[in-house]
Symmetry: C2
Subunit: 338 residues, 2 copies
Amino acid sequence: MLSERRLEVLRAIVQDYVGTEEPVGSKALTERHRLGVSPATVRNDMAVLEDEGYIAQPHTSAGRIPTDKGYRLFVDKLAGVKPMTAPERRAIQNFLDGAVDLDDVVGRTVRLLAQLTRQVAVVQYPSLTRSTVRHVELLSLAPARVMLVLITDTGRVEQRMINCPAPFGETSLADLRARLNSRVAGRPFADVPQLVQDLPEAFEAEDRGTVSTVLSTLLETLVEETEERLMIGGTANLTRFGHDFPLTIRPVLEALEEQVVLLKLLGEAGDSSMTVRIGHENAYEGLNSTSVVSVGYGSGGEAVAKLGVVGPTRMDYPGTMGAVRAVARYVGQILAES
Amino acid sequence: MLSERRLEVLRAIVQDYVGTEEPVGSKALTERHRLGVSPATVRNDMAVLEDEGYIAQPHTSAGRIPTDKGYRLFVDKLAGVKPMTAPERRAIQNFLDGAVDLDDVVGRTVRLLAQLTRQVAVVQYPSLTRSTVRHVELLSLAPARVMLVLITDTGRVEQRMINCPAPFGETSLADLRARLNSRVAGRPFADVPQLVQDLPEAFEAEDRGTVSTVLSTLLETLVEETEERLMIGGTANLTRFGHDFPLTIRPVLEALEEQVVLLKLLGEAGDSSMTVRIGHENAYEGLNSTSVVSVGYGSGGEAVAKLGVVGPTRMDYPGTMGAVRAVARYVGQILAES
DNA sequence: GTTGGCACTCGCGTGCGCTGAGTGCCAGGC
DNA sequence: GCCTGGCACTCAGCGCACGCGAGTGCCAAC
């Protein structure tokens, strides 16, 4: 176990490095922090920290920088979550309050988060399977053509075009619509498959094909991977990554474009509590030099989706975590109101 | 007017520079192209081209690179549009055919375009105002709460939540829905404002407030700036921009995040024909070292929106234009089918 | 108008030495 | 046993000089 002072040294190194982006040496440390000991002592401590793998030297004659393991310790033990100031909270609320629909909420959230953290923001749309059905609408666009519109309590609207195997009368459609809604409205989406299972049986033989088609389309929208959507923003902040960054930025941009990768990333994180994944803790190779801070959000106690930011491992963890948490909280409120 | 051969020299310079990314000298030119003249002659021609402002020297002792003006001449007079090969056309069609809804079409288009051109792709959603109304749906979610759903012939679905000034009965709602649709269904969105103008008059006094609210919400969705949506992709291709790119890439990423800027950019381009804006021809400063190739697309003859790519001025114009044109054509087909 | 020749320019890569921040180690002190 | 000042050592980065070579402009000859 590391002594109190050595932890203090590690904290100082992390803070300085995050601030200056430059390896920090023993002398600079004693000058900028009141450690109460001499540089020589700090050097000894640093040697120990390096042995333990918390810090490393980029070059023999340079200062130290934290390793992923060092950041991990910092986040777990040495740093708290820096709460937002009152004006910041107000600004967040004002900015989000103006949204007119879910796309707008998500869009504003992404921009807000990117701006607050000066990093890349990722916001997942509320998951269908974790939401509640508000309404299912069926519209007849042509004799054998139906549009299915799903509406959730979180404001998400999903639509699908359906080509029916046989013409489907307006009365049958109204019938199906009514039956569908009476069964699923107000129920969790996750229960929908069971709730509609035996629905075709209630219809005349000639309509059963169409009813089945509609139902299977409805169920398809719930398939994971398809139902998950997300929005990203603030990619311009990647340019602040570092000096060497053509090599660094490339894989990150590629990862961000691969929604699958991002969804997996968010999916792996803890369910609703705040999660920080540092450097190599991220399974995806392209993100090995980044950290991902994410948290679930939702209208009630339940998380319906996640949001977070992607930034360099050298980031201001307390501040970032504070911003992410605050934004998630307000987004949850907004969703609850709508 | 430049002689035939000088134009040929310019073409050769553009082609070589696009290929190698390095300033091209007189000797290299004569070796790689059958100009039938000696390097000395080419040098004379280059001097003239430089005087006229078509090419420039980055350093005194370096080869020449095309200027924006040079690229402009190249695009206008010297290069055609390189058609896609048959396998490419087939690949495009196959890839786009799998789409299930408009979001999917747009998403696939963006990815396809980015991959084909290896540049940043931008695809605008079909404009509401240039589309035709397929259906307007009103859903009662709560006594004084209505959801408005707009559906266009291009598959676009827009929704808005409406808080009614007074409770609105189910029969009134059905009435409004029917009247609305009988007036606007099948008509261009642009005509909607006129078509619904006197609608409140047909209702009882107690419902007029709500009807007006619904109508004004409907009209709001048509306001330019709000109704325009777009999707971008392939930002990872920015990393292939050049060597000096921290400085170049930053403003480009920023511009791409500002949807307003992009929409303006596309808006300024010619209506449906292919437009190429080179370097400083782009009004937005951050895009001064990029070229934008865009074209309108639509289900019929009319363009309902635009798509295009953003890349370095040093791009393969014929190939890019060919890809953009081909993709636009197929997207138009897909939209017409749906 | 074209061409070969020639002197000139200058960006770029290479090698070298210096500087200074930072280190590890050690002997002495609390 | 831990802390501290001193000291020799390392090495990345910087500035500088140098030479190479691609590329140019000009000119005289064809």
